[in-house]
């Protein structure tokens, strides 16, 4: 770094503001809803190495044995180099679909391989579903809060996104029902309901069995699709497994999205979608236009990995690891978060959702927390309408127990300062400190409070 190398032909970047205006005249309508903001700049600071980040959605890939990774890749290089370096079919390899069938089978699903497409991560599957189904102005329904990464996808297809409140049993299906009726009265048929039913990102809550049944019934009744995004289904740490929507529905009105990101690696960018044949035909065309095919090399890696027959025991290791971290985080929350705060206690997945007193804006709180070198995702990112300002998403999978404890301690201290200051400003006494409950999980389960509620 003593001398900056001068790349010989570096483009004379962003020449002038006039240029920007010239390009702006070329931008598609949909770019107007793609937003950048001061808050996004703030998130750039969370990447500093000294920051304990509970903001990411990262699985812990450090436990994956480098030796077996090396062996698998070597085998590919020695035995299938030419094929692994070549294009592959748009739908993905049959061998990859076999692996997918194993994963879905572990949750009781048995789709027709013809209905499966291998995608570049689950994220591409969301994109392809929107590309296939959404015209500008079409109604898309999702949970409130919803997966923050889905919001920009919906927006870029100019969907009219309507969010449905959640409670501790997941999406309020009674509200969905009322909404569907109202929309029907207005002559509008939503294209789909997007849901992460198990250990939802960001809230951590799981849709109850009764609501699952009712949701697929409603989809059938109104002839709309449910897009079931299930990245964490196999990462259950407590409680009884629930059938996926796909299984309950049989696949007529459910488009299923899965991924290897959380059970193997997000870096390989390998996900999939399962859809009824007519929908799948269009998704394949969309995929062809997007990127022709999913990385052949990483599909080969997954074949090799599954051939070893250890994938389930790796998931068991992850479950062990993440269960511990979840418990550590909940314990730390009980110790360090003020009595005014509530949080969800997820039975699986990577996240929990904390709700603070309504006067605390977690975007501003993040600025303060960053001064203490700790980060989280402000809740607003999970809403399309500015709600969620007093909530936050906390990730417990990406960092170790010590960092979780310390991170939560720092955030708790930051919140406590704001609570105390508010008390001073308004003359209200903050609530008495919460007694630490030493009980097991069920001892102090706090309800999932609806965002925006006082």
């Amino acid at each position: 770094m003593t001398e900056t190398p001068t790349p010989p032909q570096r483009r004379s970047a962003h020449t002038s503001t006039r240029d920007l205006e010239r390009y702006a005249g070329l931008f598609a309508e949909r770019t107007k809803v793609m937003r950048s903001s001061a808050m996004r700049d703030l998130m750039a600071v969370t990447a500093r190495p000294e920051v304990i980040s509970l903001a990411g959605g990262l699985p812990d890939t450090s436990t994956f044995p480098p030796k077996s990774f090396a062996a698998q890749m070597t085998r590919i290089a020695q035995e299938s180099a030419a094929e692994a370096l070549q294009y592959g079919p748009t739908e993905g390899f049959e061998e990859t679909k076999d692996c997918i069938l194993q994963v879905m089978g572990a949750e009781g699903m048995l789709p027709d391989p013809e209905d499966i497409i291998v995608t570049t991560g689950g994220q591409q599957a969301i994109d392809l579903v929107c590309k296939t189904l959404v015209d500008p102005g079409d109604v898309v329904l999702c949970e409130a809060p919803t997966y923050p990464g889905a919001v920009p996808v919906f927006c870029s297809y100019q969907a009219d996104v309507i969010q449905i409140e959640c409670d501790e049993e997941g999406m309020r299906i009674d509200e969905l029902e009322a909404l569907l009726d109202r929309l029907a009265d207005e002559g509008r048929r939503p294209k789909f309901v997007y849901s992460v039913p198990s250990f939802q990102n960001p809230s951590g809550v799981t849709l109850s069995l009764a609501r699952r049944r009712r949701l697929v019934e409603l989809a059938r009744l109104h002839e709309i699709l449910v897009v079931e995004d299930n990245p964490y289904g196999l990462l259950r740490y407590s409680g009884e497994p629930l059938p996926p929507l796909y299984q309950l529905d049989g696949g007529d009105f459910v488009v299923y999205i899965g991924t290897f990101s959380k059970i193997l690696s997000p870096g390989i960018r390998l996900g999939w979608a399962v859809a009824p044949p007519p929908v799948m035909a269009k998704i394949v065309l969309g995929k062809q236009a997007s990127d022709l095919c999913t990385s052949t090399l990483t599909q080969y890696f997954v074949h090799e990995y599954f051939a070893e027959g250890q994938w389930q025991s790796y998931i068991e290791d992850l479950i062990e690891l993440y269960r511990g971290r979840r418990d550590t985080m909940i314990e730390a929350l009980r110790e360090h978060f003020p009595a005014e705060a509530t949080w969800t206690e997820p039975e699986g997945g990577l996240f929990l959702w904390a709700t603070l007193p309504s006067y605390i804006d977690t975007g501003d709180l993040l600025a303060k927390a960053l001064r203490a070198d700790v980060a989280f995702v402000p809740g607003q990112a999970a809403f399309v309408d500015g709600r969620g300002r007093n909530s936050m998403r906390l990730n417990f999978s990406g960092v170790g127990d010590d960092e979780i404890r310390e991170g939560i301690r720092r955030i708790g201290k930051t919140i406590a300062e704001q609570v105390e200051l508010y008390g001073t400003l308004t003359g209200e006494q903050p609530a008495a400190p919460k007694p630490v409950v030493a009980d097991e999980e069920q001892g102090d389960v706090l309800p999932f409070r609806k965002a925006g509620e006082a």
């Binding site: 003593t2 001398e3 900056t4 001068t6 570096r10 004379s12 970047a13 962003h14 020449t15 002038s16 503001t17 006039r18 240029d19 920007l20 702006a24 770019t31 107007k32 937003r35 950048s36 903001s37 001061a38 808050m39 996004r40 700049d41 703030l42 750039a44 600071v45 500093r48 006067y359 605390i360 804006d361 501003d364 709180l365 600025a367 303060k368 960053l370 704001q418 105390e420 200051l421 508010y422 001073t424 400003l425 308004t426 003359g427």
Partner: protein
């Protein structure tokens, strides 16, 4: 010439600073300078000592880079640098200091009151809130005294919203100000050397001047340069901006943000190191004055190396 470009740092405006810095580096390279990019971290002084540049281009925004901290180090090391010195940085960064300085020389700025956390925590300042709300009226604007972009700036439409707005503002700084809301056109006057560049007007797309965040989202605010102003309006606005620039002791360049209302211009704040990204206002204004970005950067560098500039 060997130019170190200081950027990044720990500030909350790190992202903007990195973009400003990258663009300045490009321009300096095209101008034929030897460019050393430097993300300001704990090794800053060591790196500066190693590099011994002819001049440092400070492209840092927010605390640490725009508040005089980096400038102080550069002065100690005897390295000439772009933009204002320590004193001006300190005054510009702190809106309370800046507004006092403006008031002293008769530059119109919206009426305000400032508090630090201690006043609330230990001296019972909360009891005075209703009085000051009476004085300022509603809506009022609550801002952290030291902070950049729109971060932590909140409107309070009624007394009930004030505590919450204060909590937000206190997230960024231990001192906050409550300011009377100034209605009018939003203008930015960039100053280069001792001259005012053409005025930029910010027009919120949806007419919502209460939404500060909109200003940072492309497409939600449009910028017009030069702003359509009558001759007397332009004169009043320019005079207020240049007066502020002098009162705060700025040098090299700065951007003065003001509101043009019925009673004339009211200065909100001065930015000691305004953004230099491709969507920033200073480069837009320079361009309207016929200066390319390279010419702007070269001029800023020249100003830093003038004997009087320090």
């Amino acid at each position: 010439m060997k130019v170190v470009v200081l950027k990044g740092g720990r500030s909350l405006e790190r992202g903007v600073s990195l973009r400003s810095g990258a663009r300045v580096e490009d321009a300096l390279e095209r101008l034929g300078h030897e460019v050393v990019p430097l993300d300001a971290g704990s090794d800053l002084v060591r790196r500066l000592n190693e590099e011994r540049p002819d001049v440092a281009f400070v492209a840092m925004h927010g605390l640490g880079g725009e508040d005089g901290t980096a400038q102080e180090l550069l002065e100690i090391l005897g390295i000439p640098f772009t933009g204002p010195g320590v004193a001006a940085c300190t005054r510009c960064m702190d809106k309370v200091l800046a507004k006092h300085a403006m008031r002293e020389v008769g530059i119109p700025t919206p009426d305000f009151l400032a508090f630090n956390q201690t006043a609330f925590r230990e001296l019972g300042a909360a009891d005075s809130l209703s009085q000051l709300e009476q004085r300022l009226g509603f809506p009022l604007v609550v801002k952290p005294s030291r902070g950049g972009s729109s971060l932590g700036v909140k409107f309070a439409a009624s007394a009930a919203e004030v505590p919450q707005a204060l909590i937000s503002a206190f997230s960024y700084d231990d001192r906050v100000l409550l300011e009377r809301f100034a209605a009018g056109r939003e203008l930015a006057v960039s100053v280069l050397g001792d001259e005012a560049l053409p005025v930029v007007e910010a027009i919120p797309a949806d007419g919502d001047s209460y939404d500060f965040e909109a200003r940072y989202e492309i497409g939600r605010t449009s910028f017009v340069c030069p702003a359509e102003l009558s001759e007397s309006e332009r004169a009043a606005v320019t005079e207020a901006a240049l007066g502020t620039y002098r009162a705060l002791g700025c040098s090299g360049f700065a951007r003065i943000d003001l509101i043009l209302g019925e009673a004339g211009p009211q200065v909100l704040e001065a930015n000691a190191i305004p953004g230099l990204t491709d969507t920033s206002l200073l480069p837009q204004a320079a361009e309207a004055a016929g200066l390319s970005f390279e010419q702007l950067v070269e001029r800023i560098l020249d100003l830093a190396l003038q004997p009087s500039a320090a």
